[in-house]
Each structure stands twice: as C-alpha cells, then as structure tokens.
C-alpha cells in the first residue's frame, strides 16, 4: 500500500538509536504501551486529555511492573522515566517515535494525527494503535501523511509480542520499514502487511470467533463460561505456540494438510458456524498446502507432532494443569 515514491523527511535517528518515545492516549492500550516502553528502558512522555489520566496511568504501570520485572527489565528501566505532560505538544516535542492510542473514533483519530504531525519533529514516525481503521482513512488531514503508520498491538501491549504494521496509501515505504524495525528492537514480534485489510490479520481471526460466540450466547446455545472453557481446555492450548493452520495440518495424520483438506474439506459446507466458507477450489487447496509446507520450514509431520505434544505439556505444566488419573473435577 505504501508508496516508495512519496517523499517524506527521513526519521532523525535509526530505529536502534531511539531513546525517547511519546505515547498519546493513556487508557488500557496506551497505558500498556507506556509500561512496555518503560520496561524496555526508554524515556517515555505521555499525554491523555482525561482529568484523572496520570493517576490511572501510574496505577497501570505499577500493576504491570512485577510482571515486567519477571520478563526481565532493560538496563536502567524505571517507572520514574515516565513524564506525563499537560499538553499533546509537550509530549511529542522531543520524541523520536510516537505511539497514538486514542479511542476508536475516526474523526478523532484524523484530527489527532493531524495535530501530532504538526507538533512532532520532522520525520519522526507516528504509529496508530487503531484496532481496525485503515491508515488511508486516518491520514487525510496530516501535512506529512508519509510518516503515519498503523502499529496495532494486542492487549496487554507489555506482554503480548505481536504488532501488526501496515501503511496507508500515502505512507512512505521507509516509514513502514523503519517502524517494523523499531518495534523489533523494542522487543515486539512484528508482522508487516503489504496491504490494508480491515481488522488486519489477528483481529479478523479473533473477531470471527468472537462473533460466533456472541451468536451462541444470543441463541442460548452456550454460556460465556462454556465458550471460554471450550477454548482453554481445547484448541487454545495449542494456539499458544502453534497456529491454527499448522495444528489443523496435524489432524491429517501422516498426510498432513493435503489429507486434512481431503478429509475435512467437505465439512466446510456444514452449518458449523454462521460464517460462509470460501470455495475450496484447486487454487486455494494448493495455496493452503504450500503455505503449510512453508510454515513447517523443513519440519516433518512427525517433528511437528512431537513439538505440539511437548508444547501442550509445557503449557499445561506452566498453567498448573497437569492431570493425573482420578483427578476428576
């Protein structure tokens, strides 16, 4: 989506040299970003228009700090390196990277990004935590839209590694590459998308699951508790370390994904969810099988089965759920 031809001032420093990060919006997500950047040893300035924002933010950081300490703090990391400013302009005046985490309202985001662009030093990349708006729709008011990217985290940003990075039509390719590298340096796990898709990747997947869950509750088919238990005692145990595609491939036995699609492909027509399935034509079949081969990265089915088994055991042990005979609830 991003345009290599658009000229935008170069970021004033390399991703590896960033020391000062500004977080604008300090609710659950913005505050989580603050905690993450502090733990990684950055100086953080934060601004939020809510009257009790500073108090809530410092409480959030304090609550997260024991977890962050267990994860391992960067040298010199401290909650004391947080400065809450009175204005947006002060927050970003000296920043080398800006993370925006305002409420999900398009007009608000547009105007805020315009203000951030006006106030931040030239070339500094400004990333939005938006959970769904395409940057193309948000960058309309900014004087330099080239430095505006989406950097979408997961809650809580100080623990869940994933950040989805994607530019809008007017974002420079340099800003996308710079921010992907910056997040990696800052300890995140980055997926850089080459096109804008509403909801990005992980949110589309979890949103499909969430909507099906809401339908089940609405129809009295399952309770909230049953829905949660069905995941934590079931497929969720695998998804912590092996994604849905590769784990599905293992349902195909020694034949892997191809056998799985042969075997379970017809069930795509079953009314197992309200979501209509795509046609499983040869092109999709081949893409899924080849994609699994790529993701397996040389690991055989037997390797993957051993890895999955060990992973499930490790996760069960880590979460205190090793079961032995007779331990019925």
């Amino acid at each position: 989506m991003s345009s290599p031809g658009l000229s935008s001032p170069t970021p004033p420093c390399a991703p590896e040299d960033v020391r000062r990060v500004a977080c604008v919006g300090a609710g659950v997500i913005g505050g989580g970003w603050v905690a993450h950047f502090l733990a990684r040893g950055y100086d953080v300035t934060a601004w939020d228009p809510a009257p009790d924002a500073e108090q809530k933010l410092r409480r959030l950081v304090d609550a997260a700090w024991p977890a962050l300490t267990q994860l391992g703090l960067a040298e010199g990391a401290s909650p004391d390196r947080l400065t809450v400013t009175a204005t947006l302009q002060e927050a970003v005046a000296d920043a080398q990277f800006v993370q925006e985490s305002a409420p999900e309202k398009l007009d608000l985001k547009r105007d805020l990004l315009r203000q951030l662009d006006a106030a931040a030093p030239a070339g500094v990349v400004i990333a939005s935590s938006t959970s769904g708006y395409p940057m193309t729709d948000m960058q309309t008011e900014a004087a330099d839209p080239g430095r505006l990217v989406v950097g979408h985290p997961f809650n809580p940003p100080y623990l869940i590694p994933l950040v989805e990075v994607v530019g809008g039509e007017r974002t420079s390719a340099d800003a996308v590459a710079w921010s992907s590298r910056f997040y990696e340096v800052a300890g995140k796990s980055v997926i850089t998308m080459d096109r804008e898709v509403p909801g990005f990747i992980a949110n589309r997947l979890q949103e499909a699951l969430w909507r099906e869950a809401l339908h089940m509750v609405a129809n009295g088919e399952a309770t909230v508790r049953e829905i949660d238990d069905s995941i934590t005692e079931g497929p969720g145990l695998r998804w912590a370390f092996m994604g849905p595609m590769l784990t599905f491939a293992l349902a195909g036995g020694e034949g892997g994904m191809a056998h799985m699609l042969d075997h379970f492909g017809p069930s795509l027509k079953s009314p197992w969810t309200r979501l209509e399935a795509p046609e499983l034509d040869k092109k999709l079949y081949d893409a899924v099988v080849a994609g699994c081969d790529d993701a397996a990265d040389g690991r055989t089915i037997a390797d993957l089965v051993a890895e999955r088994d060990q992973g499930v055991i490790d996760v069960l042990r880590a979460t205190g759920r090793l079961r032995t005979q007779g331990e019925a609830k």
Copy 2:
C-alpha cells in the same frame, strides 16, 4: 435433547469401575483415544478395517508414550495392554465403554453404530468422536439408541483435555450423565451440552476462525505463516488459560465487559471478518455481561489482569519465548 423417559438397559458398571475400553476406528483420533486410555491404565481393545491399521496404531502409541509418561501414567499403564482385534465384534464383546472414531461419513457412522449396538454388552455406553454430526442423525439404525452419545475430543485426545458430551433426541439422560462422569474419571475436562448444535461449541468457534483464515489465503490478504504467527504471538498466548470472553472483558479496563461492549460494540458493524455479527441488543448485552460475571466467579478485574499477566509470562517461559531488550529477530 436426551429424554429421561426413554428406557434403556442400565450400564453394567459405574463410571469409576470401568477397566476395559474399546476403541473402534484407529486413525489419528481413534489412535489418540487408544493412547489416552492406555496411559490412564485401562485395558484397551481396538479395531480398524484398514489393512495396516495395527502397525500405524502401535506407531502412534509409541510416539505418544514419552509425552504421556511426562504427563504421569496411571499405575500399571502400559502399551502392552492394547489388543488389536480382527473384528469389530471381538473388540467390543467385553467392553465397559466404547469410543467410535470412524471417518466423518454419515451413512458409515449410522451403520457402524448399529453394528456396535448389536455387538456390545447391553447397557454399555457407546460414544462417537464425530466432529459435527448430531447424534439424532446418527442413532437412527440402532436397536438401542438410548445408549448412544457424542463424546467429541480434540486432537490429540491424549493431551487436549476437552470432551464435549451431548445426546441425541433418543439418547437417555442416564447415558449422557454416565459418559460425562466416565470421561472425568478418565482424566478429561467435560462440557455437557443440553442441546444439539451443529459443530458443538469449540468446533464452531475454531471453524469460524478457520474459515476466515481460508478467505484471507484465498484473497491473498495473508499467508499461512502470517496467520499462524498472528495467533501464536498474539491472542493465542492468552487463550491457553483464559478464554476469549474473559480476555475481551479485560480490554474494557476497570469497567470490564460492560465497558468493552460500550467501547467496541460499534465495531461489530465493521467489515472485520466475513461473519455477520448478531444485533447487540439489551438482552445479548446483559447476557454477555452477566455471563462474564459468572465466569469471573468473584475475581475482580484487577485479579483477572494479574492472573492473565502471570499466565502469559508462564506460557512464554514454558514455550521458550521470554524476550529481553535487544533480542530482535
């Protein structure tokens, strides 16, 4: 769904007294059940019509045994307590519980359940591993449909605790209750459903996610690897120990699920997945909020946040993914 009024012979022993289990169908799922029951100390008989079935089954059990040993074997548990029989009738002749795991073909399941019902001792409960057929549709040919239940496991059945238990219209309530208790005694985590829903619970949820993933691959929006990474580095880390509903509640900050629905409810209208959302009316809103309160079971939002944080750290540590500053990929 099950009818308390239907009379069916009583199971010949209590769930706690079962010693001999028959597994009919010995592919990935059936073989996984064999491994599970062996590890839990049962005598297991197995039958599968495939010519190389015994060899494959013994290979699967051998491959699973190190994992099962780590999980903790029941006293006297041994792969030597597996007998592969030449006929279906021999497999079930002495069984105190029967687990059917044949391919997902309705006609085949119907006929197989008829044969199992004819061959198994009176009253012995026969459970089907079907991943989607309602028992009402499968129990049509059996002389005693009352003892036929669905006991739907997740792959691999020897590691993933969840079993979804549900009867058909002609299943006795006693058979449902007996099998739920039996699975618990045998070390599984049981959700007993009171009505038949195509795909049960967890499969509907993971099928929604799977179909959205297939659409994304079909449209070139994400690769298989990106889809998997987006889960394992993102929401999957939470789902190993806290379900999607409760984790979503935490996105609402100190306001919990109610605040989350106020904040993100409108995004149900966004084109974030191909799955249409239900109308978030007051009834659904209240059901979700009350369901979360029930699932939270007295834990405050702060308790849940602390639990989630510790869980994610434990899972990251268990799967070798603690990140520290500068460890960029």
